[in-house]
Structure formats: structure tokens, C-alpha cells
Symmetry: C2
Subunit: 138 residues, 2 copies
């Protein structure tokens, strides 16, 4: 990956819409605001539903938040849309040469640093709630 998928920003956009205008939020309406295909939104809604963030009404349409906007963080959304593999931002090359002192030790040494960096990013995401985000422009 060169960049984290737009699924994440679309999901934030989607939840913001549901929070701001709880009625009228059908997949097509959201797709119109996000400017993408409705199916893309439905896929994202499915992930948000699976994560317990929203309830989607089949047939009649529309969605509601299952948690208050003040209790949904950007990290919750990030995790919901499954944007990284196995919750690891950094991928490491596999099976380095164990006969080499560097090859033997690099994996563990680097892994903990990468994990720390990933955590720093995630904890920053966790500090912002949907409510705060909406508050900046509503």
C-alpha cells in the first residue's frame, strides 16, 4: 500500500452524516454526499454494522448510530473498516537469514519499534471523537 484506503475517510463521512441528519440517510443519499457508488457505501455500512457502530434497516432503509457520537472515536472507525492486515500497519520481510547476526535479531528489535509507532498513531486517532469532528463544522 502506498496509502490507507479511502474506505476509512468514507466511513467517517458516512457516520458524520448519520449523526448530523439521522433521517434521510439511505445508502443512496450517503453515496450522493460522498460522491461514490451506492454499493461502496453499502459495503462500508456492512462493516460499521459488524463493528456494532450502526444499525441498518433493511427494506425501509436508513441507519442509526448505536453509540453516542461522543463515544465513537476515529480509532473505532479505523478499526471497523479493516484497513490494515491483521491490525499491523507495517509489514516486515519474512524469514531473514538466521546465520547472520543482523538477520537473526532484526525482526524482534524492529517489530517493537514499529508497533510503538503504530500505537502512537492509533492513540492519536483515539483522542478524537465523532462529536468533536462534527463540532468543528456544525
Amino acid at each position: 500500500m502506498k496509502q490507507i484506503s479511502t474506505r476509512f475517510s468514507m466511513a467517517v463521512h458516512t457516520l458524520s452524516l448519520i449523526a448530523v441528519s439521522p433521517n434521510e440517510c439511505t445508502g443512496d443519499f450517503i453515496a450522493g454526499s460522498v460522491n461514490t457508488n451506492p454499493v461502496v457505501i453499502r459495503r462500508i455500512m456492512g462493516m460499521l454494522k459488524k463493528a456494532g457502530l450502526v444499525d441498518v434497516r433493511p427494506g425501509v432503509g436508513g441507519a442509526t448510530l448505536l453509540k453516542e457520537p461522543g463515544r465513537i472515536t476515529l480509532l473505532d472507525i479505523y478499526r471497523a473498516v479493516d484497513v490494515t492486515e491483521e491490525n499491523r500497519l507495517f509489514r516486515m520481510h519474512e524469514s531473514p537469514n538466521m546465520n547472520c547476526p543482523v538477520g537473526r535479531n532484526i525482526e524482534q528489535a524492529l517489530q517493537s519499534e514499529l508497533q510503538a509507532a503504530q500505537s502512537a498513531m492509533e492513540q492519536r486517532l483515539a483522542r478524537t471523537t465523532l462529536e468533536q469532528l462534527i463540532g468543528t463544522f456544525q
Copy 2:
């Protein structure tokens, strides 16, 4: 992207090798330790060279660090291997609907949060030097 390319971890591995055993560090030798194809290492070395981190000797072979290991951070290496597009970790969906209050404002509001999260990660990478990393297993 599901994950940040192994180019980064391979580059860290490569520089660690050069720091630890300044002689013998030909592309083939490094590739043997990393366990990949020599061309992959040569490509990475080209990027590290372009970033001013190493000097590679064509013809004769081998590479040397252009900065002390204590002055090369993981962030320097991360930046050198060009692992994200335009230095943006998060990609955002484009051209949301400007007729919608959310669509009109989400970009700027979210962008600053994402930038903050990215910075948190990068600053954590900047805190670790090659010297520290090598120190943990040498």
C-alpha cells in the same frame, strides 16, 4: 494499501548490516541476509543513496554510511524508501458533494486529524536511531 511495504523493513535491515559490518556489504551479501533477490536490494540501495544515507561503490561493490548510525533515525529511512504517496499516509475520497454540509466540511476537518495521527507515528519513528536499534542486539 493493507500494509506499508516491506521496502522499509528491508531498508532498515540493509543499513543495519552496513553499520555492523562495513566490509563485505555487497548487494548479494545483503540479499542473502534479508533473504530476497539482489535486484530488490539494489533498488532499495538506490533510494538510500538518493536520500544521502549511503554511498555505493559501483564496479568494486559495497556501501558505506554517510551519517553516523546515531544520526540516522527510522524516520529518515522511512522517508528515504518512499513508502507513502506524497508523504500522506491516509488517502481521502475526492470531491465530496459541496451542496451537503458534511460533504462541504469533512475534508478539511478530517484532514487535520489524519495529519496529526500521521505525525504522531512519524515522530515516534524519529525517536529511534539506527544506533539504538543495533544496540539492542549487538
